[in-house]
Each structure stands twice: as structure tokens, then as C-alpha cells.
Symmetry: C2
Subunit: 156 residues, 2 copies
């Protein structure tokens, strides 16, 4: 998707969707982030989960660290050398909203026969959640009452 | 991102994030959808807004129509032949949540000096909105109380 952004020309420089996809759009990056948000932290576990080549995994983890989405933390297993785990930063946790929105749309409009493979639920009581627009009181606003409004900073 | 999905292997077949990006990830598709959700309907207007080559634009609009995200509607200007405009379907409107989530993250974590170029506001009174997880009562749930839970359909 970094290609898309380049391909989409000057307009895209100021598009925050494009800037987000510059971070996430690289091959493998999205699924690595998905695993990280599911609690995977160790290089070997990312490899096992995704079957991704080590050099590619190293590169993509570095991209996510450089983007401030993941952070490296040292850990040491008994008798082993110090290794580094990869943990979502607060900015990385905020990407949960993006992944949740993508999942929700895919489940609704690209469904599988077997049903959703992942659900979004409240930690407290397991109730099902959805991703929606909310106002500053934390109340959901229907989609047909939402507008994307260009600001003065919008390129003319 | 269709490439990513292929690249990510078997696991990705069942990932609704990947399935969504199969629709949206193609070069140009995202920005065309962004314009469509901003009210652009006419081929010539997409071209003018994006500076995209006609053959590419035709192909991407066809992708979005085939995916049920946009629908073609005939229109005729005085003295002109019948042409077709492209309008978001209900499924396309639901992608507003995805685009809103991407915008929100980019504005927060990839900010521009000039500030956001697009804001998400309520149609009724212009109050600022955000994209968040909500429960079935339409009440926002804090990010740290949200879990992604694998279902029985999750590939083992």
C-alpha cells in the first residue's frame, strides 16, 4: 500500500488515510501487527504464527518500531542470552480501532461460511462490541449522521 | 494489499482484515472510495480530483462496483448521452468507519504541521466525532477494555 500512496500522487501527501497506510501497508506489516495486538511478542512466535521469512520479519518489526507502533523490550530466559520482545505502544494499541473496523466490515460483507474467526468483545463481561463513530460524550452516532468535513488545511 | 494477502499465506484466507483489504488494497482504490464518500459520483470528477489515468479509474471503479461498494446509476445531462454515476452502497457507506479510523490514527500519530485536512463531524450540529468501540447500547468502551477473541472458526 506504500505503492498506492506513491501512486496516488501529490494529493496523498496530505491525506491522513494515506499516511497511516504508509506505516501499515507494507507487505506482512498488517498481519504482524494483528499478532502483536493478540499478545504475540517473541520473534520465534511471530515466525511460527505467520510462517514469514526471518529477514522479512526482522525488517517489518523494525518498520513498526521505527513508526512507534511497537517497542522492543529485553527479556532473558534461564540460561539464554538477552533477547528482545515486541510490544504495542499506546499508538499501536490505538490501531486496534483500525483493525477492528476492517474485521467488522469483512465479517459483514466478505463473510465466511464458518462465521467470524475473531470477535471484538469487552474484557469485563465478554459482551460483543462494534466499531462506530461516537461524540465527545461517548455516545454512538448513526453513520448517516456523520460527515467528513474539509478543513482550511485541505489542499485547494 | 492484495499482494500482501497472497503473501501472507494460508492463515490469511480466514482473516477478515485481509478479506477487506483484498477489496480496498488495490492501487488507487482507497482514494477513489474516499472521493466517492465525499460525494464525487462522476467519472470526470474522479479524474479531476485524483489525476488518475482513465483506464485505471475505469478498472478500479469496476472493482468497487463488483465488490458491492459502489453502484452505477444512469444520469443524462441536457443534450448529452446517458452516462453513469458511481454512488456508495450501504456496504460502501459502512467503509466510512474504516476510513474514519485510518484518518483518526494518521491525524494523531502522523500529524501535519497545518493540522488535519479532514475532520469527522456530526451532520446535525457539527460536533467533532471519533471512531471507537461501542457496546450494544451505543456506549463507547475504552480501548484497554477491548479484546479480540478467537472463535471456534479460527484456524488451528
Amino acid at each position: 500500500m506504500a505503492v498506492n500512496v506513491a501512486g496516488a500522487g501529490q494529493t496523498e501527501q496530505t491525506c491522513s488515510i494515506a499516511r497511516t497506510l504508509e506505516v501499515l501497508g507494507e507487505r506482512w506489516t498488517f498481519v504482524i501487527l494483528r499478532e502483536a495486538l493478540a499478545g504475540v511478542t517473541r520473534f520465534a512466535d511471530f515466525r511460527e504464527q505467520l510462517g514469514v521469512a526471518p529477514d522479512v520479519l526482522s525488517d517489518r518489526l523494525a518498520t513498526l518500531v521505527a513508526a512507534g507502533v511497537l517497542e522492543k523490550r529485553p527479556y532473558r530466559e534461564p540460561g539464554a542470552r538477552i533477547r528482545y520482545g515486541y510490544h504495542p505502544t499506546p499508538a499501536g494499541e490505538e490501531l486496534r480501532v483500525v483493525l477492528g473496523a476492517l474485521q467488522q466490515w469483512g465479517d459483514a460483507h466478505r463473510p465466511l461460511d464458518g462465521g467470524p474467526t475473531v470477535e471484538r468483545r469487552a474484557v469485563d463481561d465478554g459482551r460483543l462490541l462494534s466499531v462506530a463513530f461516537v461524540d465527545d460524550t461517548g455516545t454512538a452516532v448513526p453513520l448517516d449522521r456523520v460527515a467528513f468535513v474539509k478543513t482550511a488545511a485541505y489542499p485547494s
